[in-house]
Structures are given as C-alpha cells and as structure tokens.
Symmetry: C2
Subunit: 460 residues, 2 copies
C-alpha cells in the first residue's frame, strides 16, 4: 500500500491529507503534528482570547475524531527532525525524546510559518508573548486568567496585531498598539490605515505609528516598552505580531531548494525540486495570478488550496495550483477592511500603468434603514483598462468581504474595470443598489481615466 | 442642436438621459414622464408601505432638481400618445388634455411594464389595488391611513407579493398570501419556496398555495376573495401582484416590431427595427448571456444597464448591452433568497445537460458568534462542467446577495463549477470560511457528479 506522509497538521497538511484520501481511498495517509492541536483555526485565536469563543476546542476546523474517521493517521506531539530523500524516510521525535523513523512514498511538507522575532531586547521576559499558534494563545489565556493584566502593549499593527488589540480591549484591558510604519495595516492604502486607527481610538485604544520598538524592560511589576522618538508605554502584558517567516529548516536540510523571501520553492503542482516531495502552505512561495511569478503570501485560504493540490497530486492526480490574488479581509471593531490584487505601487513595479481611484458608495439604498457608506479604491491599468486590484473599507454590515470576492472573481477572469459595469449583480433595496457599489467605483475609475491626458504615446 | 427624446422617467429612461449627457454634454435631452415621480425606486414601495421608509420622497433615486442640474429637461405628467417615425415627432398630452408635438433626432422608449390584471371579477372594487407604480403605493397608503384596514389578502406570491405581505404584517395587518403555483416564489426551487412559506408563517402570515383566485366580492364591509378548492379569505384590503406585462402599445402603434413574450424587439445596441428609435427596460426583450438568445426578464438592474446603453448610443456611442443572467435577490422577513443563471429545467430546455446539487454551508466560521447556515443549489453542465446557475437561501445577515454576485461574475467569465474552487476569495472567521460557502457547494457538486454514471456516451 502506498504511503503519503505529511509533516504539519495545520491548514495545508490536513487539506492535503483529506484530498489524498478523497482521490485514492486505498492510500495510507499519516500526518505528523508538532503539537496536540491538529487542524486548528489559528485565524480564530483572537476571538478565543476576546472571549467571543469561550471554548478553545471549538477552534478546531475538524475534531481529531473527524480526521481519523476519514482514514487519516495522526501522530500528535511529534516533531519531524530530518528527512532522508534517498531512503524516503522521515525521523520524528516525541515529547519524551524517543525517535521514530517513518518511510514514505510521497511526502508533503506543510511546516507553516513562525512569528518573526523582532530584534529587540526583552522578548524572553515573563508576560511577553508572540501570537501565532494555539500554544501561544493558551499561554496568553493562562496569563490573563492568573495574572489579570490591566494593560497591554501590542507590537505590530498588522492583521493579527489589530485583531488582538480589539480582543484584549473587549477583555477589558487598556491597549496600546505600536506600529513601525506611518500607518497601521500597511497592506492597504494609508488613508484606510488611518480610518482603522480612528476606529481603534474610538474604542479606547492608543495607537502610535512610525515607532521602532527597541527594547522591553521589566520595571517592578511593569513591562516597559521603549522605542524610537522617546516612545515608552508601560503594560502588564506585551504581545508581538510583527509578521511571519516561512518555517523551512527541516526541508532545507534535506536539500529542498529555496524560492522567494526564504520560502520553499515549488512549482504549481506543489512539487519541490526533490522527487516525491511536495510542499504547501505558509512555508512555500505562492504563484500570483496577476504577477505571473512566485511571491510570498501566507494566507489560510491559500494554504487550504495548495494543500489540496499537493494531496491530490501525491495521490496520483495532476492538478495545478491556480494562484493567489492576495485576497484578504480583516474585521477590526466595527470596521471591515478587504483587499485583493495589486496596489498602485505594486502594479507599477510589475510593469503595469496603474491608476487607483477612490470612491464612496452606499452598501444599500440610502432610504432603507441602516445604509452605510463604504470606501472603495479600484486599481486598473490605464493602457489596457485591465482590473488590477481593489481595496474596500466600511462597516462590518456593509458586505465588504463578499464584494471584494466579486472583484477577485472578475480579476481571475482578467476582466477590465469597464467590464465590472456589465456584471449582472443582484439588487434589492435592503441589500444593494441598482448599480452595486463596485460598479459605482468602476464608473468613477472610467470617468477619472477619461479626464486624464493619454499616456499611450509614450508606450508606442 | 441634436435632440434626444426619452419616453419614460423610470430606471431605463433616466439612465439613458444621464448617459447621453455624459457622452455628449451638448446634446439636448428631454424626458417625458407619465406621472409626477421621475426616477423613483419602485423596488422601494414595499418599504414605504411597511413604514421603514417614512417619507415617500426619499424613494427617489435622484430628485427632480438633481436630474435637471444634469441638464435634462423633464416633462412631468405628460403621456406620450403617438410616435411619427417618418416625421420624427412624438405627441404628448398633459392632464388638462392639451396636446404637444415634440420633434426628436433620436428617440428612446422606456415605457416599462404594467401589472398583469388577473382575469378575476372584482378588481375594480374599492380596496382592491395593483402594486406597481408610485401612484399605486400612494393610493394604498391613503387607504391604510384613512380606512385602517385590519387584514389584507395578497394575490400572488412572487417577489412583490411577498415583500408586500411582509410590509403589511409589519404595519399590523393580518395577511393572507394566495399563490397559484404549488409553492411561493416560483422563480426558485420549490424547496426554497417552502422555506420562504415557513418564514412567512413564522411571522404570522397565512399562506395558501395551488389556488386559482376566481373573484373578489364586496360582502358588507368586507372583501371576500374566492378561488378554487373552495378557497375563501376575507379582508379589508386586497392587493394583486401577479406579474407584469411589457407596456408596448405606443411603440407598437408606431410600427416597432415585437420580440419574445410581448416585449419590444431590440438588438444589443438597444435599437428597435425603426431607425433612430431605441428602447430599453421592462418594455423590451433582454439578451441572456447563457441562453444566447432574447428572453423577457424585467429587472431594475437590467433597466439601468439597458438604458445606459441606449443613451450612450443615442448620443453617438457604440455600446452593446452585455446581457442578463437574471440575477435577483429578495428579502422576506429575516430570509434572503437569491438566484442567478438557469435552473435545472431551464437549462435542459436550452440544450444543456444540467446537474443541480443542494448543499448547506456556514456563512462564517461556526465558532464565531452569529453563524448561519445557508442552502445553496449549484447548477452545472455534466458534459462540460460549465457553471449554469445558483440559488441561495438563508438569513439576511449571511451575505447571500453578494455571494450570488460572485457566482454571477464567474458565469460571466464562463467558468466551470470546478473553477469556483480556484477562486481566491477572502476569509476571516467573523465573515467567512477558508473555503467559502460557494466553494463548499462547488465541491459537493463535483463529488455528486463523480459518483454519477457517465452520460457522455449518449452524446458521442
């Protein structure tokens, strides 16, 4: 019987396992899981720590029993220590230190990513935590319960940092967010980042941007976070969420080649350079549908898709990963921010001639109660009219997440901005407008473009 | 100066006027409006009568002043009586009976549709109203205020009938809905219609299906609605909303050719058979993107798009209407029902080999508070895998309207059902799942298809 061995029990690994069994129920599938939490939704950790999800067990996408019922063997609390590509064996170590050798026919590496450890002093102090894995969240929860911290500093104003700021504020803590860049949520336009900052402040948080945190010191019962421009904030708890880095040491030591930004190199079949070794998820580079090249875009959705492709191919299939557009969304307090595709700067770097236009539009007919405006930035190529990306921000009831999905679908089909006007979208006054907000923004883009001097001659 | 004359001041007519002025600010644009309510959102009438929109003036998409500021001449309370295509003149009559002759260079007909008058006795009785235009709504509102009816019978369980049932229930009336077909909301699957019926009943309405209403009688102070199977319901108010019929008499008398289902024939430039006469909106047939033929699908969104094309072309442009997918959505109490594309039966008639699969999926991660299931029916062609349509039903907070839009965008791009799996859609636990509900349903479709015997040989 053929054996597919999978290293990593998060999104990519479990997706690969499930798909392999779907494709070939006769194949044996084993997943080596470094902790005791297979298939946990790490995107849900902030909502556990906020108290919105009272029981952390509920964060499992599937229970251990579900996975095992699908015929998948789980080896929990086992760390893969080395891969022997010639002998097709992986050695693992459990918590007691005992070593096991596992043979494989096909290997899928889904080791994910780890929190970047910023280069600042004091990260090892009690009360200072990264925020990435289930174990991090359980440690913070224990600290919250036992130590009852009254205040927190969060280093990093990205998705996770802001979700954690929201969560700890709900939990009653006084929260300060410290961001290196001039605005939080650096993945979207600074104007949107500024709106998010105002939303955080409206909910009682302090937000400080443009600060390089230099060190954390224990001063009596307090943790003092100090940085550039004489920044100082005191707190009982410090979290850092300053980005992630692909977790590749195991694969590298086995000779797996590296790609962009320190991630494992893979082709669109999710094959590495080593025969019979696949890799997927936050540890690998990602094919970008618009850039037509590999980039590093660690996202749960992508990990699921890549894992599924790896699992299908490991089980004998021939599927290719279709690629990412970097589509993402985050809820911060009552605001939702979403983005897909390229921002103006990224598009310029990629050789496009982008024009990004911002518009305000209603989520539904303004006469019907509860109407909200959303801000939309549409990016398109001035030469070809091609749709290159969109960013949206607005109230959490403005159905922004699915509107960005409409744009993502349109980009997948390589539509022009103008073609958005022709989409037959749904309308009823409580839920939309006759021209959807996306189409209002497309029209604004067309109008702006038509008023601009034609740059086409420079490219002739 | 060139003169574009537009007959009809609702969605198609005003869209045409605005677009014509955008394309050529020098053109003279006149809109003949049969009533005093130009550019009113007739889709909003139920929400005015429910009390959710307290002031009916708010139902205007734009005010009269807005439209006139765009340089458009409005002739209110003027009915176009005849068109002379040779002399390029239209004669209109105002409420006093005085006749005016208007010359045109280009004419756009946007006369809309009228309520079908069902063949039942008693429609002229006091307290019996159609529900289509602003004047209908104002008459009903006056009746509600002056006569304080305690109960209503609504004949017709389509979109408007159900929205009115919801509205009058909110207004405190005891409502009975009578539907000819075996289930309400005949535009979607009967199982979905049944769920809608349950929702209406949960909100205190009585719903009776499979009934042919035969007559309405005044019996003392009461209106008695009687029909097949000994149906009888007594009420103080009766509304009928049993579909619409294109309003074409004026155009027909001028020699405009007819197309499908009694609608005016147009090409995709929205030109009729008569030179310099365009038509758009609920009075014309509609190009269907999947059927690749004309059909009759009167929808506000389509009227806006067709009007825009007609206005652009009347002003010298060369735009084509891209076509409809029949995308639509309705909110009934706390449920939302949406559909796009073809149902199984329609697809079979069109020569496809459809397979429609129903799936339940969560709108967002179940661990996050407020998660709702939605039911999705995906229709695809078994031979080619092509996506043919979708229907969805679920809670009004489940972002169903925009999810159907994602499917509509995918169908526009002629994607397969399988290709939905590859869409890079957004995810955050409060607003979605790593595989969106659409993708969960696509996967279910693929699984069902793979379990079915291959019918391909019959087509070889």
């Amino acid at each position: 019987m053929s054996h597919i061995l999978i290293i990593g029990g998060s999104d990519a690994g479990i997706s690969a396992a499930l798909r392999a069994k779907e494709i070939d129920p006769a194949v044996m599938v084993t997943v080596v899981v470094a902790d005791n939490y297979p298939n946990y939704s790490i995107c849900g950790l902030p909502f556990y720590l906020s108290g919105e999800v009272p029981d952390w067990h509920d964060l499992a996408h599937r229970t251990q029993a579900d996975i095992e019922r699908a015929g998948i063997h789980l080896l929990l609390n086992q760390t893969a220590k080395s891969i022997d590509p010639q002998g097709k064996r992986v050695s693992t170590r459990d918590q007691s230190g005992s070593v096991t050798a596992l043979s494989y026919d096909k290997l899928v590496i889904g080791t994910g990513a780890v929190s970047v450890r910023p280069r600042i002093g004091g990260l090892a102090l009690p009360g200072v935590y990264p925020m990435r894995w289930m174990a991090d969240a359980l440690a913070v929860e224990q600290y919250l319960v036992e130590r009852e911290p009254q205040s927190a500093v969060i280093i990093g104003g990205g998705y996770i940092g802001l979700e954690m700021a929201d969560a700890l504020t709900r939990r009653g803590l006084k929260v300060t967010v410290v961001e290196y860049f001039p605005s939080v949520l650096n993945t979207v336009d600074p104007a949107f980042g500024h709106s998010v900052q105002e939303e955080l402040e409206r909910h009682g948080m302090r937000v400080v941007t443009g600060i390089t945190v230099e060190r954390i010191e224990q001063q009596g019962n307090t943790l003092a976070v100090m940085g550039s421009h004489d920044f100082r904030a005191d707190a009982d708890l410090v979290l850092y969420a300053t980005g992630v880095h692909p977790s590749t040491a195991l694969a590298e030591s086995a000779g797996v080649a590296m790609g962009v930004r320190g991630a494992l190199r893979v082709n669109r079949a999710m094959e590495t350079n080593i025969p019979d070794i696949y890799a997927a998820g936050d540890c690998v580079e990602t094919w970008h549908r618009l850039l037509l090249t590999n980039t590093y875009l660690p996202l749960g959705t992508t990990a699921h898709k890549q894992g599924r492709v790896a699992g299908e191919n490991a089980a004998g299939g021939h599927r290719k990963f279709a690629g990412s557009l970097g589509t993402q969304v985050v809820k911060v307090c009552d605001l939702v921010v979403a983005a897909t595709g390229l921002r103006e700067r990224e598009a310029t770097q990629a050789g496009f001639d982008p024009l990004e236009v911002e518009t305000a539009a209603w989520d539904h007919k303004v006469y019907y109660p509860g109407a909200q405006t959303l801000q939309i930035r549409i990016n398109g190529d001035r030469q070809t009219g091609r749709l290159l990306g969109a960013q949206m921000i607005g109230h959490r009831h403005a159905e922004i997440a699915k509107r960005i999905d409409v744009v993502a679908a349109a980009m997948t089909a390589e539509m022009t901005v103008d073609a958005l006007m022709d989409l037959d979208l749904s309308y009823t006054p409580p839920l939309g407008t006759p021209w959807d907000a996306i189409q209002v923004s497309a029209q604004a883009w067309m109008n702006t473009k038509s008023r601009m001097p034609d740059k086409g001659e420079h490219h002739a």
